[in-house]
């Protein structure tokens, strides 16, 4: 009988030079690796997608496997803003303020049809997608998306975090992009 070898969920080591007792790589890659596996999400849950997020954080799906078990309910310590649910126009300035209070580098995950485009709420009182007020990194479709999809979205964020260069947030392009949203 063959005994299955246990499969550890470990990160791949970055490219580098390896030898007896040492491993050399660029600092950017090491920082990317560390950041990627310790994202602190801020859940901004306003409706049913938030319920799916509860399942995502629960034992069955368990976002902790991706190093994101520590939710930050203060925007100042959060890395990832997860917007889950319908954002009414009256909620818009609140969401924007939460985003502005987050420290760089920061990422935004838009979960579900409502956050991404307004969804079924094509009405005068609902914001037709959060990308009208804040920049979004990854969109997760679904109404609501299953926990697997939310995890997939977080993994896409992880890819972005891993590959982000140190200089990106200081770049002219990034500042111009923020200025488009009227964020200093």
């Amino acid at each position: 009988m063959e005994i299955a070898t246990p499969k550890y969920n470990m990160s791949e080591k970055p490219e580098g030079i390896e030898g007896a007792g040492f491993f050399a790589t660029s600092l950017e890659k090491v920082v990317g690796l560390a950041r990627k596996n310790s994202i602190w999400p801020l859940p901004f849950a306003t409706s049913c997608c938030g319920i799916e997020f509860m399942a995502t954080m629960g034992a069955h799906y368990d976002l902790a496997r991706f190093g994101s078990e520590r939710l930050s309910f203060s925007p100042r310590q959060a890395d990832l803003l997860m917007v889950m649910g319908t954002i009414a126009k009256k909620m818009g300035p609140v969401l924007r303020q939460v985003y502005e209070q987050m420290a760089e580098p920061r990422w935004v995950l838009s979960v579900g049809a409502c956050a991404s485009s307004g969804g079924i709420f094509d009405t005068y009182s609902v914001l037709q997608g959060i990308d009208r007020i804040i920049p979004v990194d990854v969109y997760v479709p679904g109404c609501p998306p299953r926990p697997e999809q939310i995890i997939d979205g977080v993994m896409k964020i992880q890819e972005l975090v891993e590959k982000e260069s140190f200089r990106r947030r200081d770049s002219k392009e990034y500042k111009a992009m923020l200025n488009q949203y009227g964020i200093e």
């Binding site: 009256k90 307004g118 009405t123 005068y124 009182s125």
Partner: protein
């Protein structure tokens, strides 16, 4: 609702406000009195104190838009918690200038309800202590429950006539 109860209410109104009642009807098992708009607040105050009616609880009030008649109606729903009798009072206001005195001196609960009605229908409540929008964003320039304004958000780009029949 028994006819006796209906006659009690009509009698109480006619005691002091003869000729104000335009129509009485049962709408979906709910006794409804349509009144002239001039002394609606006095009538509600009168029904509050009158021993045979005692409508001392304001269930709700709201606006209704009738675009064909170019009218905005105000509806007040009152409840007598002692005898468990309810009544609906209705008045019609002109669409271009829907103005009515505030009900807040009689019922403090009318404050937020009237703000909501102002927010969605643009009815002006004269003498209201704080008449501003309550649910919608302050920057909104329309009264969204009026039929001339579209329900949909007009800035949405992913829907067009060919696909969704806008």
């Amino acid at each position: 609702m028994e006819v006796v109860e209906q006659e009690k209410i009509i009698g109480a109104i006619n005691e002091k406000f003869e000729g104000q009642i335009l129509k009485t009807e049962m709408l979906y098992d709910f006794f409804t009195i349509t009144l002239k708009k001039d002394s609606i607040i006095d009538i509600i105050g009168h029904l509050y104190h009158h021993p045979s009616t005692q409508f001392q609880y304001l269930t709700t009030l709201c606006g209704i838009h009738y675009p064909d008649q170019k009218q905005i109606a105000m509806m007040y729903q009152l409840h007598n918690l002692v005898s468990n009798v309810q009544v609906r009072l209705k008045i019609h206001l002109p669409e271009e200038n829907p103005t009515v005195p505030t009900l807040t001196p009689v019922f403090a609960a009318a404050n937020w309800l009237e703000r909501e009605t102002y927010d969605f229908f643009g009815v002006i409540f004269q003498g209201h202590p704080n008449l501003k929008r309550i649910l919608n964003v302050d920057e909104m320039i329309i009264f969204p429950m009026r039929k001339e304004y579209p329900l949909e958000d007009q800035t949405r780009e992913d829907k067009n006539d060919t696909m969704f029949g806008r």
